[in-house]
Symmetry: C2
Subunit: 246 residues, 2 copies
DNA sequence: AGAATAGTGTCTGTTAGACATTATAGA
DNA sequence: TCTATAATGTCTAACAGACACTATTCT
């Protein structure tokens, strides 16, 4: 029979999960909805005091999705929904403590739950920004040929994240944008029924640029289901409310 | 300072790489180019005698891409080019020997090198086939909600692969198809300069269905660079030859 | 000349993009 | 009536899909 000793001969790496938690939050003087990422103030022995993406080591025989949910609950009091795998980061020098593989994930949180973080002094949402092409061209590529296209500013003023978290953020934002190109709110950043203008505001925040109102409407309408007629209550013509369907 | 002992407290899984190596080979009485996957006759202690995707355990501090190349060289005598990560398979029961994570990859080999496998009795190319929707609907989904859409028949007549290799094959084929939708031969299944009809045959093999000749031509032409005028030598009007560009 | 393959002309239905117009509410 | 927002009408340029036709070689 097969025994566990079959595996002893192979050295084993430590395995961690890191998560870019993305949502849409009001930002700037105009309170305009903006794509933002959740950062954690590190209290562990590595990179103590810096702000980074939440992450943790995988427990024995734990599913990766479970590890991600546990991490978010422990470090931010957020109950994650459906983490998506992005990439295994495998540079043997990425963690000074030793040989650590990290499975990068992206996760989204509904926009109306971004205030439910556990401890506001240890967790924060920071807007992500597209780096202009000039900056991208000037920055030198890393050894693997990756160039940075997304930037953040941490609460302590830093423009870089520890480990390879800048790379993870980059992957996460582009993954999210790709999925928001052809379907309305695939990650359910809007939880309840919504007006199309609210949906468009979310898509504009995710994609980082304005969208034509009528073209957007015709794009998404086939994938929506109307759940309520126009309900007055604000200025202007009241909007019908929809949920995603199909 | 940080010491490796920081990591001791965390249990570590064994980590393997598994690779779906895809190419285009002549198949059937018509010798029609067909998408095929490389299978290995297992001689190890698990699933001995069965046919499976090549794979192996990762060496200490080895990059995953390096592990993939090493595996292909060891088991099939193939020098891989650019493995792409697909997914980490993390079901704790996927390997009877213990807690083994597998990083699934997809790799392509130029069509004119498929005969360069090391030992033809231990390695073989088998055509992949799309399962008709009826079969897909009838097959029950696995616990994670995945349903099989791609099938193979191994040399010993089996229609299933060990471990979760059916899942990996499925992911690999769909990943390849998605990339072959918008660009001409992104994985360089054709090595040298080629005629557009050869390019179309490859795309038809990858996608699994015929393509309109003139529409395909106009799709790819902006992404090609002509390297030779028409050179006679066969029946019919001789074709210009191109390489991929832009 | 005839067969076989490569390459182009052209029509059509669809659609993204853009602008203008109508509709319905509150102030 | 005025303003603000929602929703629709319509024009245009681009393009995929399809069919027909022309071009160039070998037999």
């Amino acid at each position: 029979m097969n025994t566990p000793s079959d595996l002893i001969q192979f050295p084993r790496p430590s395995v961690a999960v890191d998560v870019a938690v993305l949502s849409v939050v009001p930002s700037g003087p105009s309170r305009q909805p903006t794509l933002a990422v959740l950062l954690i103030h590190r209290r562990t022995r590595t990179h103590t005091g810096r702000w980074s993406l939440p992450g943790s080591f995988v427990h024995e025989r734990e599913r990766l999705a479970v590890a991600v949910r546990r991490t978010l609950l422990d470090k931010a009091g957020i109950d994650g929904l459906s983490p998506r795998q992005l990439l295994v980061l495998d540079d043997p020098r990425r963690d000074a403590r030793g040989w650590v593989l990290s499975v990068a994930h992206v996760e989204t949180v509904p926009a109306d739950r971004t205030h439910q973080v556990a401890d506001p002094s240890l967790t924060t949402w920071v807007p992500v920004q597209d780096l202009p092409p000039t900056d991208i061209a000037e920055s030198d590529a890393d050894p693997e040929g990756w160039v940075r296209t997304i930037g953040v500013v941490t609460p302590d003023g830093s423009t870089t994240l520890p480990f390879d978290h800048d790379r993870i953020l980059d992957l996460a934002v582009h993954d999210l944008r790709r999925r928001y190109l052809d379907r309305p709110d695939p990650d359910h950043l809007l939880s309840g029924p919504f007006a199309i203008s609210e949906l468009r505001a979310v898509h504009e925040a995710v994609l980082g640029h304005p969208l034509q109102k009528d073209t957007f409407r015709r794009m998404v309408l086939p994938h929506l289901r109307q759940v309520a007629g126009p309900t007055p209550g604000s200025v202007g013509r009241p909007a019908a409310r929809y949920i995603t369907a199909s």
